[in-house]
Symmetry: D2
């Protein structure tokens, strides 16, 4: 159930509501509200509320409305919020902010190396992807690697380099965070917190990302074999913890054919647009694992109404320290961005000349 709080509620009325909620839910934790657009809301487990509790809540002066979307997720549900969520990336650091989601914005391309490898590599790549038309710089400082013997990223040093690349290019920065205890540290440097597929149901991490002090946007990748319900419930952890800025990222699901790393499930895009108001982007690099497939699947993703792409690009892909096989060059990136813009304009019904 979702409680929308009266805008004009006094602090006493709010305190009274909170006290009631603690009593009803038996929660030891303080109750968190989330600012969803104009509305300040609190989401609760409906199952814990009997009729009496419901009546008591309705009677609270601080309560504007009670809402019960018939989905397991609440705040993420299109039944709760009918308009698309718009998220601004890059508000807290000095850079060129970008808007994602919303009704008619152009697709946002985030690009950069799989891993931050060195200051020089990163700055060069950042400048190149900017020239190619990317609007957010991606790059991993902390890398979740299948084997403990693989390169694990440069860590904090990598975060410093990302911040410097932002200063040089003005591009906001997205980078992965892998553990709850590192969320605030990463949030000092990043403009978007990325949560990877292996952490798609790492609930303490989701909660920490939801509680990050700057409410930085979180890009939440789909788990290797997450259903849409599981994915949206993972997003719900972030939303219910107080952060309304969640971007979903389809990155391929596990399947049986070794031809590709994963199967890119583009049908999830229109399905998610039905089920949720959150923006959806696609990662054509990890989903295919093969660079020659990236341009075509980028196009298809935009045709399926993805609101953005996150792409691995490297000035010299064959020398990349990780995911070399799926990285593309800035020149290829530029062509992809042009094509996706053409498709996006076409879908809006705009005239265009090739």
């Amino acid at each position: 159930m979702i409680i929308t709080i009266q805008n004009e509620a006094s602090s006493d009325e709010r305190a009274q509501l909170m006290a009631l909620l603690c009593r009803i839910t038996g929660s030891q934790h303080p109750i968190t509200s989330t600012q969803m657009g104009e509305r300040e809301v609190i989401a609760l487990d409906s199952a814990s509320l009997d009729a009496q509790a419901h009546t008591a809540l309705s009677a609270q002066p601080a309560v504007a409305t009670l809402h019960s979307p018939k989905t397991s997720y609440q705040l993420a549900s299109r039944l709760f919020q009918t308009h698309n969520t718009t998220i601004t990336i890059g508000e807290t650091h000095a850079c060129n902010p970008v808007t994602i989601g919303g009704e008619q914005s152009m697709p946002v391309v985030m690009a950069g190396p799989c891993a931050v490898e060195s200051r020089e590599q990163l700055i060069t790549t950042a400048q190149a992807v900017k020239r190619a038309g990317a609007r957010v710089l991606r790059g991993g400082a902390f890398k979740p690697r299948t084997s403990p013997y693989q390169f694990q990223g440069l860590g904090i040093e990598g975060l410093h380099m990302l911040a410097e690349a932002r200063e040089v290019t003005g591009l906001p920065v997205i980078t992965e965070v892998m553990e709850p205890g590192m969320v605030e540290t990463v949030a000092q440097y990043a403009d978007v917190l990325q949560i990877g597929t292996r952490n798609a149901q790492n609930f303490p991490l989701l909660l920490a990302a939801g509680r990050n002090s700057k409410k930085l946007p979180v890009l939440l990748k789909r788990g290797f074999s997450s259903t849409l319900d599981e994915w949206l419930l993972a997003a719900e952890y972030i939303l219910a913890a107080g952060n309304p800025n969640v971007i979903l990222c389809e990155r391929g699901i596990r399947s049986y054919d070794p031809q590709t790393r994963n199967v890119l499930d583009l049908t999830c895009i229109p399905l998610l647009h039905q089920l949720t108001h959150l923006p959806i982007v696609v990662d054509p690099s990890h989903s295919t694992g093969r660079r020659e497939l990236v341009p075509i699947m980028s196009r298809a993703a935009i045709a399926a109404e993805a609101q953005g792409l996150i792409i691995e690009a490297h000035p010299d892909p064959d020398k990349a320290l990780c995911d070399s096989k799926q990285s593309i060059t800035p020149t290829q990136l530029e062509k992809i961005i042009q094509e996706t813009h053409m498709i996006a304009r076409m879908l809006r019904g705009e005239a265009y000349v090739a």
Copy 2:
């Protein structure tokens, strides 16, 4: 291994080659050749050929070249034939033939009801999908149904109706064949033989379709959980049996999320374009199982360079006897066809005005 036969080989020389091949392979069956474009070819299991047999074959006057693509499939391989296969649909019956495949042709849309239900329903639908821009009429006369208690199609009567609908509209007709013994019967009425997902590895059926006396094109759907290798080897059964006219059809693969009937694997399109010269179409109806997803996934399929679509359309989808949930109206079909044409033109670099 593939043997290309000398165009000018005399009948004696050919007979001598055939006799040698029977000896080498120990086959009791007559050896079949296939006309692949300009070339007449015979495909063999390389494993059965020792160096001596190889030398003997090379020495045959009827042999032009020997070719051994390093793929498990031979005739289907892009390593054997580098240019795209072009297939003409509708050459044997009086109708408007359509070309699919080739380098720069527009996507071909095949549309019609899941099942032929009645003469009137079919003619009405055929006229409507023609007006909407479809160029081939689909409709099931023999329906493979999961339960023996579901409607199994009108059978031969349905074939008669399809032939009449072709006469009325000029649209060539595609319909499913489910057993080897029915191939010649269905081939009397149809312009394309469809082999369904449940028969994707029904080898006697594949062989019969390969041997059909008219060399009618065969649309071969991917199995529920076929790998690309398995699928191309299924196509190889048809090709090696003498029929070069195979169209591949992606229709979704089995996965774990009950949200959609199947997962549409659009990445297989560019992969297949690398691996094979055969044309590839997409079925957005069966893959999604939900009509509201059909337009968007149609677009995405064309953006991923599918060469055609096969779509379930019905004048009154809610009353369709099967697959009602995934059928669209002719009006929706028209919009899909317009959009896919726009995307196809855009991909070719043609200017366009919305």
Copy 3:
């Protein structure tokens, strides 16, 4: 819906019922009844029956009872028949018949080569597997192979050899049939008709196997990615066509880890025992694809209450023409049979000494 026919119904009363059924269902085909144990039954699509039809059927003198199990499958349902189906293998040819299913019978092991390769190989293997304790001889004469260039079996000649091996050893014979037109031919030689995983939803083949004139038992393998519902509906095709003798065979399902050919789903055994009265056997050879796993998974299958096993055995596995990697020797087979018997006795609560 299932109609149980009065045992004492006169031929006039039966004819009257059949005529009514043709009228109600609109079927052009003659209605088939199936002898399920003591009961003669006819299964119908409930959806096609309105209340009036239901009343008319109830009033028929030839009708004993009407039954509507709330499962998509009817005759296969445990809700229709609560006791286990017992099937006798080897009744039509001179050999030692074997009983499978039933309440307390010992597990039946079927063993033999993947493919019949030669008269000598087959007789030797048959004698060896008999000595090892197998009670049915398996061997493929018609082999469904992924590639058209792989060995496709000896065909009719292979059937002759199987019949001879039965004569020599007294073991009934199971072999695969791949197309409807061959069912009667194979049924002349075989004691059990095997339908393979690729034909798990080849409905014309299922119907032909259901209609085979001798009502030979059919071993129906699970499809690569069949759900239990799909599998039981495939069995229903055979049952509803007049043949009550269906044995289900779990042979692994498709999954994502290349370590094994398939994932053996042993949990399906107790699930199937809940859902259906049909006997269930397990194929540990195809499911694992690795011979060293066959003994252990055989044991686990019997511990999970499988009623039989079908195992690939070859006197010289490394030289087998197909599935060499998963074939075991007769000596290994003997040990497997001993262990499975010990487990089966233990599950019955019998004392045993190792």
Copy 4:
């Protein structure tokens, strides 16, 4: 690569080796060694070692041997350690310790409620599962739940209750840890740290569990869709971090049939016994999600040579706060334990009377 350290190496020689390793690997972190049975070892990424580095290492007095198993995992590999790892559970707190793994030990059954719900519920259950023959008490204090609105466990309070239940019954305790920052806290109370399926590739958590100061055993569940390689590499994270005590737990993998929560992959047991020396247990509760399947699949798991089981049991399963559908009663548990013991004895070749 694995370096085995000389038992008699002086502290100077060790320091010299460590310094060399830091130089070679460029690692900022201190190098960790792991005590694997008699051997103290250090595992390294072989890729980072050129021939010169290899020679330098060989020359170190502190180096006994260099070993390079040709598997992506090193310390977990059966190629490195041929004998089974034996792990003692319950050494650090006062209780009855249990040994798992090794060559001929009986299967260890861990049982208890899904979640710790109250002091009384836990003590009652602990006493009941002890009487039934369980040797380790399971119970979740921190529960990873798909939805943020589901019961998340009692937290620290739950840990206190587990410790009390251990005191009362003498059973060592296994409980889940969900985040790196909580490892030391949970390790104060637990005898085995459980890492759940959703954290199967939560690398910071794996490292923290590997570094836990007591070297408490870690039960590592397989990820929803982990391959065996990914799973063993996850175990390698723990081993390489200094903790040799890893128990693998198969708990079902994601598949397409909604009949069961997951597909229990029992074939992984003999496969893992080939690939690794680590003990393997099976969770028949989460894998099936249905209590009536638990006894049969427990038996099958032991027949497949699992070295233990972890089972959800509750005095009143229908009232359990989570996983009610898959919990069994202590009486059912007792029967399971008896059966699994009988099978285990039979597999060892021991005589037995029912």
